[in-house]
C-alpha cells in the first residue's frame, strides 16, 4: 500500500483546485475540517462549489474570504449564532463575490451523493415535492413512478471533485476509523473523485484492522491522509473534542460587519502559518475542550477459529 501521509498545505494544494466541488461538513455539526478551510483561505483558492447538508460556520468563512462561487446545500449559517453574515452578504449584495445557490434538503442532498456513490444517474425521492426547493433548484425533475407509486422527485447524481473527511484515527495508508453519527460521510467518500482524510491521530494498521466494521470507506478511495489534531475545532468530534460554542458566538459577532470579519480572518487564519500555530494560539482553551472521560465500547470478536 502507498504511504499517503501528507502535510495540510501539501494535501490541500494538490487535491483541491480552483473551481472544484468540495464536500465539507459531511457529518453536519460534528467533524467539520476547519483546518482545511483555513488552509484553502491561506492558499487563496477561488470559485469553489461547496457541498454540505449543514456546515456550521465553515461555509460562511470561505464565502467571506472570497473562495466560493457556488453552494449546494441544505442549511448555511451558524448553529449557535443564527444567520451566516457572509452568506447573507454574498447572496443579498454579491459581496465579496456573487454566489450561486443550489437548494437542497438534507435528504435530497444525501440521496444525490448516494446516487453518485453507486453509479446511478438519478434517484427518485418523495421529499421536496410541493416545496419551492423543487422550483429554485432547476436540477430537480418531477416524474410519475412508472410502477404506479405516484409522483416522485428525480434527483440527479452528484459526484464531487473532493470529499474532506475528518476521522478519529487513521493509519498512514488511509485505513481509518470513524465513529459517532456519520451524516453523509460514507456516500461522499464513495462518490467523490478524491478523498482527503484528516486524522486526529495516526495509528498502526493493526488498530484499524482490529475492527473493520468501524471503517466507513476503504483505503483505496483515499487520496491523502493529513495528521492534524483538533482539525475540527470549533466543531466537536465524538470521543475527542467538545464543541467550542463561545468560539462560534464570537465568530458570529465579529462577522456581522465586513471590516470586523477581515480582522477576525487575519487574527485566526491569515496571520497563522499553519494549524499548529492555530492550536498554539488556542492554548489552554483547546485543552479544556479535550474529552478526558471514557465510555468505551465492548470489543467485538473477529477471530476465524
Amino acid at each position: 500500500m502507498r504511504d499517503k501521509l501528507a502535510s495540510l498545505s501539501q494535501a490541500v494544494g494538490e487535491l483541491i483546485r480552483d473551481g472544484d466541488s468540495v464536500v465539507l461538513g459531511a457529518c453536519l455539526e460534528q467533524n467539520i475540517a476547519f483546518a482545511v478551510v483555513h488552509e484553502l483561505i491561506r492558499q487563496g483558492r477561488r470559485d469553489l462549489e461547496l457541498v454540505a447538508p449543514i456546515s456550521d460556520g465553515a461555509t460562511d468563512m470561505l464565502i467571506g474570504a472570497g473562495c466560493v462561487g457556488a453552494v449546494a446545500g441544505a442549511w448555511v449559517g451558524n448553529v449557535s449564532g443564527g444567520l451566516g453574515h457572509n452568506y447573507r452578504r454574498a447572496v443579498e449584495q454579491g459581496l465579496p463575490v456573487p454566489l450561486r445557490i443550489n437548494d437542497y434538503s438534507n435528504f435530497s442532498l444525501g440521496m444525490a451523493l448516494f446516487a453518485g456513490a453507486y453509479g446511478m444517474p438519478y434517484v427518485p425521492v418523495r421529499s421536496v415535492l410541493g416545496s419551492d426547493i423543487a422550483v429554485s433548484n432547476p436540477a430537480f425533475r418531477r416524474a410519475e413512478d412508472p410502477f404506479g407509486g405516484g409522483p416522485v422527485l428525480l434527483v440527479p447524481a452528484m459526484e464531487p471533485a473532493v470529499a474532506v473527511l475528518p476521522v478519529q484515527r487513521s493509519d498512514r495508508f488511509g485505513n481509518c476509523h470513524h465513529w459517532g453519527n456519520a451524516g453523509v460521510a460514507q456516500e461522499a467518500a464513495l462518490a467523490a473523485e478524491r478523498v482527503l482524510v484528516v486524522a486526529d491521530e495516526i495509528v498502526e494498521p493493526e488498530v484499524i484492522a482490529s475492527d473493520p466494521n468501524r471503517v466507513l470507506f476503504p483505503a483505496f478511495r483515499v487520496s491523502a491522509v493529513v495528521h492534524e489534531p483538533a482539525a475540527v475545532h470549533p466543531s466537536p468530534m465524538t470521543g475527542r473534542w467538545k464543541r467550542d460554542t463561545d468560539f462560534y458566538q464570537d465568530y458570529h459577532r465579529r462577522s456581522r460587519d465586513p471590516d470586523d470579519f477581515r480582522a477576525w480572518l487575519r487574527e485566526w487564519v491569515l496571520d497563522l502559518s499553519d494549524h499548529a500555530a492555530y492550536r498554539a494560539k488556542l492554548g489552554q482553551r483547546l485543552e479544556a475542550l479535550r474529552i478526558r472521560g471514557e465510555a468505551l465500547s465492548a470489543p467485538a470478536n473477529f477471530a476465524a477459529e
Binding site: C27, L28, E29, Q30, N31, P53, I54, D56, G73, A74, W75, V76, G77, V79, S80, G82, L83, Y87, R88, V91, E92, D103, Y104, S105, N106, F107, S108, G110, M111, F114, R126, S127, V128, L129, G130, S131, D132, I133, V135, S136, R142, G150, P151, L153, W179, G180, N181, A182, G183, V184, A185, Q186, E187, P236, T238, G239, K242, R243, I291, A295
Partner: protein
C-alpha cells in the same frame, strides 16, 4: 402570573404532541427538551431520531447546542448516517416531526430560505436542513414559532417546508401522500388545522393571553376552532420532569 415561564409552557405543550410508543424527529433546542419531558411523563417508550444520523431512547445527559454534540453521541441507540434516518421518514415509519422557521402561513407552509423573491432575496435565511424532509414525509408536523405578525403571514414568500399548501387537497395533489401540520406552538397560543381547507385555527391561548391579543399578533384573520380555550397549565409532574431532570441548569426558566 403563573410560576412557569412561557418557554417552559411551550416545551410542555410540545411534549404533549408526542404519544407513547411513537417515533419522532426531534430537531433542535426546545423540542429536545420536550422529548425529554414526554419520555419522563406520558410517553416513556417514545424514540427520538436526529437527521445527523442518531436515534435515542433516553434523552442526552447535558446541554446540547447541536444534534451532533458529544452528549447526544454517548448512549445513543443507533449511530448511523443521514440517509438511513431520513429514509425511515420516506418509508412512512416516522410518526411526528418538529420544525421551526422564519415565517409560517395560514396553511402551515413554512419559509426558512428566502425573504422576498428567491431570485433576488432581501434576506437569505439558512435554508431547509432537514425541515423540508420532515414536513413532506412525517405523519404529522409540529411547528414551533415566535408569535409575531411578521412571522405568521397570509402567504410565505417561499415554501421550504410544505404544510397544506393552498388548502383542501392541494397537498395530496402535489404528490404528498400523507402528513401535514398537526399543531403550531407559539409563545402565545396553539394553532391547529381545522375544516376542509386545513387552515390554521386558534385551538388554545396561553395563560396571560386572550383571543384578541393572539388575533392581533397574527398576520391573517385567525379563526377560532370550536372548543378553543386556555392552554392547560403545566402539571406538577410535567414541571418536575422539566426542572429536575431535563433542564437542571434552568436554561428554559
Amino acid at each position: 402570573m403563573a410560576d412557569f415561564s412561557t418557554q417552559e409552557l411551550m416545551i410542555i405543550a410540545t411534549a404533549r404532541e408526542i404519544r407513547d410508543g411513537e417515533v419522532v424527529f426531534i430537531g433542535m433546542r426546545l423540542p429536545i427538551a420536550a422529548f425529554g419531558v414526554a419520555r419522563l411523563t406520558h410517553a416513556p417508550t417514545a424514540v427520538g431520531l436526529f437527521e445527523v444520523g442518531l436515534a435515542r431512547h433516553a434523552p442526552a445527559q447535558g446541554m446540547l447546542y447541536t444534534m451532533s454534540d458529544p452528549p447526544n453521541q454517548q448512549g445513543a441507540a443507533w449511530a448511523t448516517g443521514l440517509i438511513q434516518v431520513l429514509g425511515l421518514l420516506q418509508a412512512g415509519r416516522v410518526d411526528a416531526g418538529f420544525i421551526g422557521g422564519g415565517e409560517i402561513d395560514r396553511f402551515g407552509n413554512i419559509n426558512s430560505s428566502y425573504i422576498g423573491d428567491w431570485r433576488r432575496p432581501t434576506v437569505k435565511l439558512p435554508g431547509s436542513g432537514g425541515a423540508c424532509d420532515i414536513a413532506t414525509m412525517s405523519k404529522r408536523t409540529v411547528a414551533i414559532m415566535n408569535h409575531e405578525k411578521r412571522r405568521l403571514v397570509p402567504r410565505v414568500d417561499y415554501i421550504t417546508s410544505p404544510g397544506n399548501l393552498d388548502g383542501g387537497d392541494t397537498r395530496a395533489r402535489a404528490g404528498l401522500a400523507w402528513g401535514g401540520p398537526a399543531a403550531v406552538i407559539t409563545d402565545r397560543a396553539v394553532l391547529r388545522p381545522f375544516g376542509p381547507d386545513g387552515e390554521l385555527h386558534l385551538a388554545s391561548w396561553h395563560p396571560g393571553q386572550d383571543v384578541d391579543a393572539v388575533r392581533g399578533h397574527t398576520g391573517w384573520d385567525l379563526e377560532i376552532m370550536p372548543g378553543a380555550r386556555e392552554t392547560e397549565a403545566p402539571t406538577p409532574d410535567e414541571l418536575k420532569a422539566l426542572r429536575e431532570v431535563v433542564d437542571v441548569e434552568g436554561f428554559w426558566r
